[in-house]
Symmetry: C2
């Protein structure tokens, strides 16, 4: 335990020359400090506002809102598009046997366009319904669009391979992971066009992935304890999320409106930092709830074998690593149907990466703007700001500094965007000064 | 990066069956969250109170207070006790050559008592001066008492050894680390009674240790860069401590008085947790300022070789480990002059340990009560509560849980005692309701 150096001095541990570096207890210190600080904030909140959590309010939001039923109808209508995609693919599978691959391209394009049309049609419908139901059905349609795009892309690759084989041509077509069958041997191997069934189509629609494969990896059985644990997590975290939003987010946002209207800079920063904590906590809980509990629950129900819905983004030392690892389903889709096709068409890497961020920025903006009926571009700009940020972090920071920069951008960036939207929403819809800060 | 388990499922990383455990990024997350939360608290404090830091106030506290000069006089008077101890030892060294060791015991006891008398005399003087100077001179006298106690104890051991040698007796006397000379060869080895010089006495008085040795380990030279760095740390951290107390502690304590008088329990807890953060921060800075910067500065000046003023208490998993490692000078003194003599006299381990805590509790209470002129036993009880806490933590918690329990008791325990004293001080000295909370 003594640190005697070469000169015979017993150095203090914190002296740089002692060579000591065991600060294991510091992690515990951080955790204790965080828990105690947040316990105080929680208590202060309860003392100031009383209990605001009201689960009935959420239920009534669904039941009373006249626009939430059209949203449910829209979700039912989505089956039309699913079936349309399936029948188009069946037709194409037959037609492509007789005509050349160059002509089938136009047919394939047709399905692609039909999928996009859905979304544009929905976009218009959605504009009427600013509600929780609207957000959910918009999300459902967005996911469906990505899924059907992948479905027709993959089926086109299969047709091209079949035609290449039929013509005994040796052109090497890249057909990424279409024929993979990592699953257990229990499920029989399906090949094109045997996959064009209702069962296969709906399995893909419900499966927790955006990339279509003819043969998904499958798990051998449904583990009931695993399923129960995920279900309980889902229910509990759902309640927790709603509670935290009602108790912590809403009053903090309301209190932030005054400094933001008066452009009182130091108070704005203080409010921003105050909002950052609950916002970040809610985001983390949402992450676990959606990517771990919910997707694993669905996967277990469907015996879907590929549970890699996220990787270790919490250790990421660059911004690109974060974006490539926190949302694996979307990342895989972008890679397979957007980034790699672009590279094959001769686009350079940086441009392709920027295009992916651009598309992602568009979808972020779209998912926020449509339900709020406000086109403010804050979400879009937030996503696009990732490109210079990624460059800066990659260039100047590495190791723990890069990781800290990633956390800071995550913790601070989100509440800025949230405050911007809420502020603009207040100004447009109330057109008066925000409610006074409760004392 | 994929975690395929034995059943062929690619598990999510957070599933217990994935076997993944790299959460390196979480430490960075904790640090970022702590920095941001405290940045917000700091900003809120500045917005609410403006800048309260006033270095002039501290200086004027020393200059204007009529009682701070007597305190300085008292420190000068302490030389009398130092010299008295030295001359008594010289006399004893001569006398003990001629008479039996059993008789010298009474003489040795005399010095011991004289040292204790000093403190009691001072205690009475101190009662008049409730000031910063009073606290400092009280601290100086306490340290001096411990040093002189060690001085006469060690010299007695040396006499006993000399007499044992002289009578050619083979009784094995334990004389802990008296004859150690870990230092460099540059300093000559001193043996009893050659150590009874003014130079040796004052070196021990100023050296950053409480345990007297005839030959201290010495460092070969004064490292100027090391000295400068410690000096700058001392000056900067001193300013920081004063600033934090003025800006953060004082307003928080003032705001806490109202809930404590009204016995509003939830607000009391909220205030306590609010006070815990600055209090703990100040304690940590004080620890570094005193045990690392100041003691190393003094040690470097005196070429004192044993810099082990603290060990890795931040990793401690039991309460006893914390108390044995955060303040090594006092710990070594207790071990050498209190705990081990008790064990030699046949006291069992647990009782001896409790007695050490009792003595420590007495000194804590003494150092707080005398300057405040209040005997409330909060500090005493706080220290004595460590005994059952040590038992509980040792019995039920280990590893990281024990470490976290140590941190919690440290972070929460101190502000409770601080609030208790301040509350009682207000009630006694103002005898009216505390100042209203600023809005």
């Amino acid at each position: 335990m003594t640190f005697e150096n070469e000169k015979g001095i017993f150095e203090s541990l914190l002296s740089s020359s002692s060579g000591y570096s065991n600060y294991r207890g510091i992690l515990n210190w951080c955790v204790v400090m965080l828990v105690l600080s947040n316990a105080r904030l929680f208590l202060e909140n309860i003392i100031k506002y009383g209990i605001l959590v009201d689960p009935i309010q959420v239920v009534s939001l669904f039941l009373k809102d006249p626009y939430s039923w059209p949203a449910a109808c829209l979700i039912i209508v989505s089956n039309v598009f699913i079936l349309a995609a399936l029948y188009t693919e069946r037709r194409l599978a037959v037609v492509s046997l007789h005509i050349s691959p160059d002509n089938t391209f136009s047919f394939a394009h047709m399905t692609q366009i039909s999928a996009i049309c859905q979304v544009q049609a929905i976009l218009l419908c959605m504009c009427v319904c600013v509600s929780v139901g609207g957000v959910i059905s918009l999300g459902v349609y967005t996911v469906l669009f990505l899924k059907l795009y992948s479905y027709q892309d993959t089926n086109r690759w299969c047709r091209e391979i079949r035609q290449a084989k039929a013509k005994k041509m040796t052109r090497s077509f890249s057909c990424p992971s279409v024929a993979q069958s990592n699953g257990s041997a229990a499920h029989t191997h399906v090949s094109y066009p045997g996959n064009l069934t209702h069962r296969d189509m709906y399995y893909f629609v419900f499966a927790p992935t955006l990339c279509y494969q003819l043969n998904f990896p499958r798990s051998p059985r449904i583990r009931k304890r695993f399923l129960m644990r995920r279900l309980l997590e889902m229910l509990f975290l759902m309640q927790l999320l709603v509670g935290l939003i009602q108790q912590w987010m809403v009053p903090t946002i309301q209190n932030s409106m005054k400094p933001f209207q008066e452009m009182d800079f130091s108070r704005m920063v203080e409010r921003l930092l105050k909002l950052a904590v609950p916002n970040h906590l809610i985001w983390l809980i949402f992450f676990y709830w959606f990517f771990h509990s919910s997707l694993n629950f669905v996967a277990e129900m469907l015996q879907f074998g590929d549970r890699e819905f996220y990787r270790d983004w919490w250790n990421s030392e660059t911004v690109t690593y974060f974006w490539a690892n926190w949302n694996i389903p979307v990342h895989k889709w972008c890679l397979r149907h957007f980034y790699k096709p672009m590279l094959r068409n001769g686009v350079n890497k940086f441009l392709a990466q920027t295009a992916v961020f651009l598309a992602s920025a568009f979808f972020h903006e779209y998912l926020v703007s449509v339900p709020l009926k406000m086109f403010r571009l804050w979400a879009f700009m937030g996503m696009m700001a990732q490109v210079p940020l990624a460059w800066f972090v990659g260039r100047f920071l590495n190791g723990n500094y890069g990781n800290a920069a990633m956390w800071i951008s995550l913790i601070i960036g989100q509440p800025i965007a949230v405050l911007m939207y809420v502020h603009d929403y207040y100004i447009i819809h109330h057109n008066k000064s925000p409610p006074p800060e409760p004392t």
